[in-house]
Amino acid sequence: MRLYICTKCGKKFVEERLFCPSCLSEDFSESSINGATVSDRVQLFATPAKFPESYYVLLLSNGELKIFCRSDTDIKEGMKVRLDMEDSQHRCR
């Protein structure tokens, strides 16, 4: 998952922005989040079109940021997962 780091104040975020949400700087460096730990998880049985009919949404933490990710399998709290992009969707394994 792409990670933006403000070169002025060091603020980290994952969403597309034109200005840093903390100091309004326009200069960011790009990095990536490759792994994180499962904080909580929800199994869905009613899902949007273009997604499978059932899956898990995981709430992950890497110590600094919280991130949501989809998983086809149940991964319990405290487990470490790897983050990938697949068909333009964030997946974790």
């Binding site: 909580d40 049985f45 899902t47 949404v57 969707q89």
Partner: protein, 379 residues
Amino acid sequence: MVYIIDSGNTKFGRSNQDIIKLGATAAKDIVKRFHDAIDLVIVSNSYSGEYTGNSGINSLITTALSLDEVPSLRVDNTTASGSTAILLGRSLIEAGRVNTVLIIGVEKMSEVDTRRSSEIISSFLNPVERDAGLTLPSLAAFMARSYIREYGATRESIAMVSVKNHRNGSMNPIAQFQKAISLEDVLNSRIIADPLRLFEYCPISDGASAILMSSHEYAPSLSAKRVNVMETTVSSSSSVVSTRENFVSIDVVKKAAEQVFQKTWLYPRDIDFIELHDMATILEIVEAEDMGFFRKGEGWKAMKDGETELGGSIPINPSGGLISRGHPIGATGIAQAAEVFTQLTGKAGKRQVRGAERGLSLNMGGFGNSAIATIYEVV
């Protein structure tokens, strides 16, 4: 002061009418009574393009009402569109730009299947989270899990929100669900997002509501029936839900409520009933706490003890709320205002909150992206 002087609704649920007719029908009786006095029409609608292939819905509806030459506009702030339209209409009247505003909230959602509907609604999410398969029901499930873990709430106490709202809805002629249900019905319905079940979520709805707002100076010449829109406040936050501090509280709800109480010099104890944004059962409990009606972590006990029932100390969602009345997205904020108007003018029939003089509505956009709190008072 700005007043609501009239209201109208269609039945909520599945409608055979197209979205234009639906919106116009909710306002038909108001227009019959006040046609020549309407200065501006605001249409609250989020997804007319996605669900029905219509754009410029405000102009299509004003034509259907033969208000062709009355200026009109459409307001979209997702699930908070209705209250946003009220905020705008009230501001324009207060600023002296217009004397009256007809606000029509409408959505027609039944023309696509459930999975497409879920895709349309999820488009409010920031792409970085939408691409992870996050949905509104899944966010409510995260909230329920966190709340139970943090405060030891029983599963039954959360499900009881649905039982209460269905009971209230059974007394509301416009409600999508007209039948009371039991706790067993709720807890035996199928899981949508673990642990929350089908009857704990609002349904997919067609429907429309309308209100007519008027200036203090103009209202007496139009109607003897008036409700003062005392104050309406808005609070907003990031579209990225993972930036929220936790899932047991909604910051924008807290802030909008703090502001509305501060500006009116009122306290929660001064409010006789509330219309809340119960997209899911757990949200009603968390929002009531965040607005100061119960201590944090104790809302579930109040629910269990019947405090939020019609005859309780603070009735919540006498209309049946989103869960039972239904949630045609663009209509919801207006339906809340229409219910408050009906209650404060003593016309709510079997679901009437006895002696109600002041009501509060809370309309939320997205999942804590924005919240709008409004306090109304009988005149």
